[in-house]
Symmetry: C2
Subunit: 451 residues, 2 copies
């Protein structure tokens, strides 16, 4: 049989793992620096935990696990004859694969509520699975990197998360724009124009403004049942221009009459002003058309775009006020962000932003000239490793050409030669693979050179 892997999944080889680890480690270090603690939840969750949390479409995209043993024992041929596979699922499957990190986190918080120190700042970096149709850049198994603060309404959390985003991308060398909005601003707009029930229609339409332009958005709004008068009230809000300060000011004036909207602008202003006062590399931007996860977010909405690569958002998040309600624990609000590891990987690849030593494997490869030389080499290798220098020996006394081919393919920095001459002097010849320079040294000198 010719082996294959399921569509939408990937193998990561050594070079890819180095690059991915660089990204994950960078994110993890920043999370730790900001006082977030890591947790991990199982890949398997009960379908009771997962079903109904991601809408009808999400339920379909959950990977479901066939019950172990005789899964047919409670199933009748009649039910199969009925032909509705959805009704059969609960009979033959009780577990599924994690679809995101938010629902497992909510479940975790509820189950561990008595152990958690609130506000609880957690991060989680784990794969998730979705039975989506695979396409370029969309996988069925991919990593999410989430950080959330729950149990605190303070806007300082938003400021911290924005600084954290800034620091992650500063370290990765990716120039970004952080777009901000606030769900209360969107609600305020809808209330202001007298269409509070149309907030979804409005946000769905204005979300397309970058793609189709303001006029087409207005046409769509008319189709969705807004009156001309309402659209005319909306236009100036969508047309706000100027510096970030000027636009916040304009938005404040336009929404001033509406309590919800005014609160939203006030929150935005605090978050923007505090973040700018602390200083950041990223461009901070207001985007009233930003509406991601509208049904979930209740305050700040955050989205991050790479400035130098045309790709969807590479990070995003927002404030929510009821993480755990669906599991019977009310009133827990929080704010979180998620880093899109796969897109960040694509961005770093596109811009070639990996540090030179990212793919560095082993530092020194010893050539193998036979048993006696190999044993002397192994003793030297042991000393190198004790000094923190990665080293290996070619395991067989193969032809020099073959051994050097490996050294080149692995991109080792040095090749070490312990032949008869070196054995006699209890020394080794170190060949610098970039300069070609060769030096006869003792093992202690070699270690000093390499450290």
């Amino acid at each position: 049989m010719k082996p294959s892997i399921p569509k939408g999944t990937r193998d990561f080889g050594p070079a890819e793992m180095c690059r991915r680890n660089y990204i994950f480690n960078t994110i993890k270090q920043v999370f730790n620096l900001f006082g977030f603690s890591q947790i991990e939840t199982p890949a398997l969750e009960t379908l009771g935990t997962l079903m109904g949390k991601y809408g009808e479409e999400g339920d379909k995209l959950l990977f479901k696990i066939l019950n172990s043993g005789d899964f047919l024992k409670d199933m009748s041929p009649e039910r199969v004859a009925e032909g509705d596979y959805r009704k059969i699922i609960p009979t033959i499957s009780e577990k599924g694969l994690r679809y995101d990190l938010t629902v497992p986190f909510a479940r975790y918080v509820v189950m561990h509520r008595d152990e958690l120190q609130m506000p609880f700042k957690r991060f989680q970096i784990q794969p998730v699975w979705r039975a989506d149709r695979p396409q370029k850049g969309r996988y069925r198994e991919f990593y999410q990197c989430d950080a959330d603060v729950v149990g605190s309404d303070s806007l300082l959390n938003e400021v911290e998360l924005l600084q954290m985003i800034d620091e992650v991308f500063r370290r990765l060398g990716v120039r970004i724009a952080i777009k901000l909005n606030n769900r209360k601003v969107l609600a305020g707009i809808a209330e202001l124009i007298g269409a509070p029930d149309k907030i979804i229609d409005i946000t769905v339409a204005i979300d397309k403004i970058d793609k189709i332009g303001l006029d087409n958005v207005c046409a769509e709004l008319a189709e969705r049942g807004l009156t001309q008068e309402q659209i005319d009230m909306l236009r100036p809000i969508l047309n706000i221009s100027g510096t970030l300060d000027e636009r916040l000011e304009a938005l404040e004036n336009l929404l001033g009459e509406n309590a919800t909207g005014a609160l939203g602008v006030k929150e935005l202003k605090f978050v923007v002003e505090t973040t700018l006062a602390l200083g950041l590399d990223a461009t901070l931007d207001l985007d009233v058309s930003l509406a991601r996860g509208l049904n979930y977010y209740t305050g700040t909405i955050i989205e991050v775009k790479a400035l130098d690569v045309a790709i969807g958002s590479i990070s995003g998040g927002g404030r929510y006020d009821n993480l755990t309600g669906v599991f019977g624990m009310g009133g827990l609000s929080g704010v979180g962000i998620s880093f899109g590891a796969d897109r960040i990987y694509d961005v770093l690849n596109a811009l070639n932003l990996y540090p030179a030593d990212t793919a560095a494997g082993v530092t020194v490869m010893f050539v193998n000239f036979g048993e006696r030389e190999a044993l002397a080499s192994l003793a030297m290798i042991k000393k190198m490793r004790a000094a923190g220098i990665s080293a290996e020996i070619y395991p067989d006394a193969a032809k020099m050409k073959k051994q050097m081919a490996r050294a080149n393919a692995l991109g080792v920095s040095y090749v070490a030669i312990v032949g008869e001459a070196e054995l006699e002097q209890n020394a080794l010849t170190l060949k610098n693979m970039s300069t070609g320079e060769q030096t006869l040294v003792s093992i202690d000198e070699a270690i000093d050179m390499l450290k």
Copy 2:
């Protein structure tokens, strides 16, 4: 609903994650030091890849994924009426969860054979899933940490792996005994007593020698069809005593007539002598009753036991000669070891071997006295983080007692106080949480103190 997780799975909270990361990072650092490269394969594999690789029992223990969409479309009520769930599986499931890291590795090698630099030294640290009956210390989702060298017959690979085991447990502070055997020795014994076809019976029986004693093993061997004469020949081999050298010598003499056995002893001697010459902390031991994975291993067999905790083996492995044959690529031999992360975790917990700073979360928590103080604190925190010191602010201006309770619960090393007095002097008060000592310092002085 009261949420739960599937039986045999676990949540890992912040403290557990710190301890687990300590173990995984230690293992990973050593793998890198020895020149092993990391790969990752998907959690999902096709059932074509997984089925038939772990025996009939293994096939049952595979978690199988229900096909997306209408999985009933190719199923007739008649087939359900037949009642054989095994026959139904291929119709409704084409993917499963990774059961170990060896089969995915074999699949990976075959699919990427043209890109790989042989000998290929890979490591892989990922969870695996088994629908086993959960019990104490046995989980349905757990991590494996495997390192293998494929494409080289050299016994130096064995020596390297033994050194690697030694280094991992030296770093973890776990005293271990490494038990060695060689499949050829077992085959030689079976040949020598004239029962080459009984090698499985012999190994199954003598594997119990520690538990039931030599006399009972001999009784079992008689039951399994060995003649008294054969058992009498076997006794002295199982009774070998003395130092490791003496036992290898005795084994050599006892098996000297048998070519297979003699080769096995020669291999064992080379591995033992070379490893001892390089020096190691672990106790090295010969155990002719060691037979793990007999159907798979063809040469060296390795098993690691903790000396100070009564628990099963915490690492093990061996040499195999046909990793990829089942996927149509013949002749690829290798040698590998696997670290049992969950048992190692249990051992470190039992002996309390974690370094003092393992659970260290954030280093400094700033008390929040209100907006003005908080903003000044955030600027200081930014400087601390830039110096690599993890720091956070309590997000709300809560009561001092509540804030200090968090600092204590999180185990922060320092609490920073920026109140009115400190604001005036553009300074902060650092409270050392272990000594209680308080110092008024500038932010730069604070950073110097903390670094």
